[in-house]
Symmetry: D2
Subunit: 202 residues, 4 copies
Amino acid sequence: MELSAIALNCSLKASDAPSSTDKLLGEVLAELAKHDVAGEILRVADFDVKPGVTSDEGEGDAWPEIRRRIVAADILVLGTPIWLGQPSSIAKRVVERMDAFLGETDDRSRMPAFGKVAVVAVVGNEDGAHHCHAAMFQALNDVGFTLAATAGTYWVGNAMAATDYKDLRKPYEPTVQASAMMAANVAHLARLLRRSPYPGME
Amino acid sequence: MELSAIALNCSLKASDAPSSTDKLLGEVLAELAKHDVAGEILRVADFDVKPGVTSDEGEGDAWPEIRRRIVAADILVLGTPIWLGQPSSIAKRVVERMDAFLGETDDRSRMPAFGKVAVVAVVGNEDGAHHCHAAMFQALNDVGFTLAATAGTYWVGNAMAATDYKDLRKPYEPTVQASAMMAANVAHLARLLRRSPYPGME
Amino acid sequence: MELSAIALNCSLKASDAPSSTDKLLGEVLAELAKHDVAGEILRVADFDVKPGVTSDEGEGDAWPEIRRRIVAADILVLGTPIWLGQPSSIAKRVVERMDAFLGETDDRSRMPAFGKVAVVAVVGNEDGAHHCHAAMFQALNDVGFTLAATAGTYWVGNAMAATDYKDLRKPYEPTVQASAMMAANVAHLARLLRRSPYPGME
Amino acid sequence: MELSAIALNCSLKASDAPSSTDKLLGEVLAELAKHDVAGEILRVADFDVKPGVTSDEGEGDAWPEIRRRIVAADILVLGTPIWLGQPSSIAKRVVERMDAFLGETDDRSRMPAFGKVAVVAVVGNEDGAHHCHAAMFQALNDVGFTLAATAGTYWVGNAMAATDYKDLRKPYEPTVQASAMMAANVAHLARLLRRSPYPGME
């Protein structure tokens, strides 16, 4: 595979519990694979990511390892469930830790995420996906990620409904189409930026 | 009736066009009527509300009349459709015009909306209601409105769906229940605040 | 004192580190004390609040104790720093845990927060306070808290600035005034709702 | 010049009034010119942009002409003032009108904005820039625009302050730097996408 993607599942549950976010991330990685992108999913709740805004919060902090994998990848897929119409506290923690990128620039003022492309996959029983996209797009872009056209995919049910994405019996076509277009765009853009990095500033 | 409500329909369409927001606002006013609240709906797109942040933007500005009705009512029901996951430009214009309240305080620093209670009713084909609540709650609260418990009601369909609320054949129970509880709470609170106004500051 | 307030400091740092949020919360509690409200501050980062959306996530979860204090108080003061223009991951975790309130209703469908009044205090080096208010107002209102007029206070510096609120040498008057008005309003409303609780629904 | 940019000033005031947004947009276009991008500013309040979500709302609608210029440009610079911590109603109207792009795809499902790069410039007396970025990034990305790394620039003053950007006597360095890096990134990305358009889907 030519490119690599790291998908962060920001579910509140550890990986012994089934996750709708996991299902959507799996679909996104399958679409990316069609464009020569190798991917893996990390369940962030399995790790002890300490609160803070540095790249290493000391003993027991699992962030340095996750950060290493983000920096090694071409594409970041941030997956979050919706709670109270908003991204999960774990998704917020992840972008918070990348606040450190603002101070980790090279000699041309480029942050570690410059040239990397991010996408955001959101799942909830109901309502909240656009806001999760907005909040995560802004945070990820602030710390240097590029966003390809239609960089968000999602599934949500009717207002105040209780069905889980993981329990749907058949593919939900609008979400499948959104993920497919997102994957085509992000792979194209990541390839362009790998070959022609941002020049930065003197 | 003991209390009065003014409902602003912030649909992008004028009143010759059917409106899902109108349907939800009608339901909200019906619930409020059960609590002795008389209400009326105004379709904002029927009026020429000028851009600006004063209470009167001059010749042809329809805002002074709408403002008069807001100030005369105990309860403001702000109804907005969702476009791109966000409140309509007309809903934004309405709260923008109330920015003027910040400078229109009495001798105890109370804005014209002090003591009034606001609720927000949101309708879309899909996703965006919680963000519309968030944006409108903050703006309305900033300019002095009080928010009763569960001050938002809404209806939205599945992700990327196209059904209109106005075309549903039967009542959508979760929305009906949310509107009923909202009405009970807002009527109770408006009554308390009418009898015991905020004291303000010296 | 007639009423009680619990202030949650959602700083990313534990209580051995100085906190600008702490300074603002102290000022808010001092204003509340003038209206006969007794308050205490809890630094949430001192506790192990597990991720999840139930009221007890099992062994080692510190949330049940924090939840107990919230339910015992008349007023919740949620204090959050701004990171990337948004509430902290700890603030998000706190409201996420109160998602459980949605299912903990009494025989009149009232959540545990019904009748309680919330305010939100936000501090950052720069930009983000209004969005923090919006996100927290919506989440807190969804789970049953009432919001008095002007329920938010805040301090932020100029765009991309680095000064900390805790390092300001003298009181910042606009913030002092906002906190004072907020305290007057919230104490008034909490008193009304304690005497006349929401009736709920049959 | 190799590339072209259209800057939309979404101030609430028409072009006979001085505008802080205009000042920031002028600075952004000057930075873009260093990267071989020709630009012009349009004051949207000078035009009668009708409410709606089609590309032509009929008689008197000025949108078709603005839309034509957006489609002809490589780069969209959306400039908005902050009111109540949020983008202006005119900024919301502009993105609302581009909702029509969702249905205007070519035979490879590409919207008219595919391949175009957007940036967002925000000015306010105080607080709100990050939220304006978030709301505009999400809306613009939804309708097909690409966002280069650090696609937002802004200026805001201290909490509840009243200074206007247009009245600052000297350049505000952090904003100057943010605009310069933004311009370098967007010009680089627009050039790449012009040479290698998104392939779209069959």
